[in-house]
């Protein structure tokens, strides 16, 4: 029994069958990658997991509880954090404030009208946020405006914000899309470090095979809205169906 169990999930948009009949099981404390060509339904699947979309059929269970019908913030409070394709951070706030928000969310829940305390006098939160910034190597940037950072640093901050909540499942949506090689490698190193140091399950949607094969322990290949195959990276590399469906271009090129 995995921490995330997706059973028979289907989703239609008008006449388009975005997801057919998806079954997926993500084991606890593993890195599980979901790959597939454009339009395979990766993002739709991810959105079904975090509450942005509600699937037409099937069930999504997280740690034995259904996530269906819950709002994104409720699902997050259950222990699922999401990293977006383009880093989603609070651009107009400082790096420190960015980091404090998930700390508050973790401790105080979805809504606490604590309007009369000075947030910088909340030692517990401040220490926790400072610690996270240390861990992310961003302590020097704490007073910077988040919007002014480089894309790589924004990504790092976003991941740090997710980790600050101590999620049990971290979902990453093409975390290195549009990044320069160096930034990509930094991100891979960061994720590897996270994997090694924490009890956390990571599920990653990715285009970049380099990233996938550097990180993943299990890979699910999605094509035309249905999972084609699920296996270890080594087996996926050589799988004929995968080559046909997904790596076809590579084959032609070769």
């Amino acid at each position: 029994m995995g921490i995330l169990e997706v059973k028979n999930v289907g989703k239609r948009f008008g006449g388009l069958q975005a997801l057919g009949d998806v079954n997926l099981s993500v084991a606890e404390n593993t890195v599980h990658a979901i790959i597939g060509p454009n339009g395979a339904g990766k993002s739709t699947l991810l959105n079904c997991l975090v509450g942005k979309l509600i699937p037409d059929t099937g069930s999504v269970m997280f740690d034995g509880q259904s996530v269906l019908g819950r709002k994104p913030y409720e699902i997050n409070q259950m222990g699922i954090s999401r990293v977006f394709q383009t880093p989603e951070i609070f651009g107009e706030l400082s790096v420190m404030e960015n980091m404090m928000i998930p700390c508050f969310a973790k401790r105080d829940g979805a809504f606490t009208p604590n309007a009369f305390i000075d947030m910088f006098k909340d030692r517990e939160i401040v220490e926790r946020a400072e610690q996270m910034l240390e861990e992310m190597n961003m302590a020097d940037a704490r007073n910077d405006n988040a919007a002014t950072m480089s894309r790589g640093n924004k990504r790092r901050l976003e991941i740090g914000m997710c980790l600050a909540q101590e999620p049990r499942l971290l979902l990453l949506d093409e975390p290195t899309a549009g990044m320069a090689r160096a930034d990509t490698n930094n991100t891979i190193d960061l994720l590897k470090q996270i994997k090694d140091e924490r009890d956390i399950t990571i599920s990653i949607i990715e285009h970049d095979m380099h990233v996938v094969f550097s990180l993943a322990e299990r890979i699910t290949v999605l094509a035309q809205g249905t999972p084609l195959v699920e296996d270890t990276p080594d087996n996926i590399k050589g799988h004929p169906k995968v080559r046909e469906a997904y790596l076809g271009e590579t084959q032609d090129a070769a």
Partner: protein, 399 residues
């Protein structure tokens, strides 16, 4: 001090000093001098400054922090005013129950409006709030006349029941008071050529305004305030960080609605009269303009914006041609006439023109509003001194 850090406390102290000394600061010109026209230190205008300051501070908690642009905030001001005047008609001319009830009623009304309007965001939200306010205005002006007085509004009358007050002495008019201290009573101090007026109502309103301002600083610096700024910055990230944006924005909406109600209640306390125009969309637009003119999202900006607009409305509109002739009387006749005709379109009945021009100039040259203007001036003076404000661990909104 008061749970504020040094910088905020200094700001609060500065505002408090300005407010307390306003009767001096706003009356810089001696009586009878040509410049006395520009004196603003008389009770009505000083009261309006602080009352609209409160209104704008509250509006800024919603608009400045969450970015939700309400175009119907005047409705809460109006509802608060009606509640206050009814307290004065039914209960007592003491301002405490009137102000208290106006805040409560405005809070309830804004809860209802906010609960519905916050289902939408952006311009759709703005139009929903506008629609509610316009409906309130239209109904108050027409079919609700028995409750609101319609066109002629409501004023306390000698014949009102006022169950807590004793019967008025023969010939006395009901006057708003705070346990006997009449809001209209003033203390005048004449020194040299100057005449300073210290009005009881103004100081009551000013104390309320300082409390309101203090509370707004606390909200700005609180986790709650940070969440509101997070709503403005990136609602998506907020949702995926396990935070429910809706109650935060609704709370901000209700708080700002209660500030508006407080302003409405104070308006009645200072000047016992309500008319439905107070809820017209131009009144809602005015507070939007005040916030933007002063500097959206800054602590002191909206107060400055409110002051600037009310100053122009009350001072510029009262300058007439005769006064211009007196100003320029030292010039030779021909030049005097030319000067008068050059200035004339911008004052008196043309004060709107000046207002419009100032809006445009400020937004073109000072994108952060009047506050940015102040900062630029401050920077000019500070340039030679080393920056004394070290990093204090946060990006505070500019003051």
């Amino acid at each position: 001090m008061f749970g504020l850090d040094k910088k905020d406390f200094r700001l609060l102290l500065l505002v408090a000093v300005l407010v307390v000394l306003a009767p001096f600061l706003l009356n810089p010109f001696p009586e009878g001098s040509a410049m006395a026209q520009f004196n603003a230190g008389y009770p009505d205008l000083m009261q309006r400054f602080v009352i609209f300051g409160i209104f704008a501070i509250g509006f800024n908690i919603l608009f400045g922090l969450t970015g939700y642009l309400s175009f119907g905030h005047a409705a809460f001001l109006g509802v608060g005013s009606y509640a206050a005047i009814w307290m004065m008609k039914l209960l007592t001319m003491n301002v405490i129950p009137a102000i208290f009830v106006s805040v409560i009623v405005a809070g309830i009304f804004s809860l209802a409006v906010g609960w519905i309007s916050l289902r939408r965001s952006g311009i759709y939200f703005s139009i929903l709030t506008l629609a509610f306010a316009q409906m309130s205005y239209s109904l108050a002006y027409s079919v609700l006349t028995p409750i609101t007085g319609g066109e002629t509004g409501l004023q306390p009358k000698v014949t009102d029941p006022r169950i807590l007050d004793g019967t008025l002495a023969n010939g006395a008019t009901p006057k708003a008071n705070l346990f006997g201290l009449e809001m209209g009573s003033s203390f005048e101090w004449s020194v040299g050529g100057w005449l300073f007026t210290f009005n009881a109502g103004y100081y009551v309103a000013a104390i309320v305004m300082l409390v309101a301002f203090y509370m707004s600083i606390r909200i700005f610096r609180s986790p709650f305030g940070m969440m509101l700024r997070a709503v403005k910055s990136n609602q998506q990230r907020l949702n995926y960080t396990g935070l429910n944006a809706k109650p935060y924005t609704l709370a901000a909406f209700v708080i700002s609605g209660m500030y508006a109600g407080l302003a409405g209640g104070l308006m009645v306390a200072m000047d016992t009269q309500v008319g439905a125009e107070r809820m017209f969309w131009t009144a809602s637009g005015e507070v939007v303009l005040m916030s933007i003119l002063g500097g959206v999202g800054t602590l002191i900006g909206p107060v400055l914006g409110a002051g600037a607009i009310k100053y122009m409305e009350n001072i510029l509109s009262k300058i007439n041609k005769e006064i211009l002739h007196q100003w320029f009387a030292f010039m030779p006749d021909g030049i005097e006439d030319i000067l008068v005709s050059l200035v004339y379109p911008f004052i008196g009945k043309g004060w709107h023109l000046t207002l419009g021009i100032i809006f445009m100039l400020v937004v073109i040259f000072l994108p952060g509003g009047l506050v940015e203007g102040g900062q630029r001036v401050a920077r000019l003076f500070k340039r030679k001194k080393p920056a004394e404000d070290g990093p204090d661990g946060k990006t505070t909104p500019a003051e």
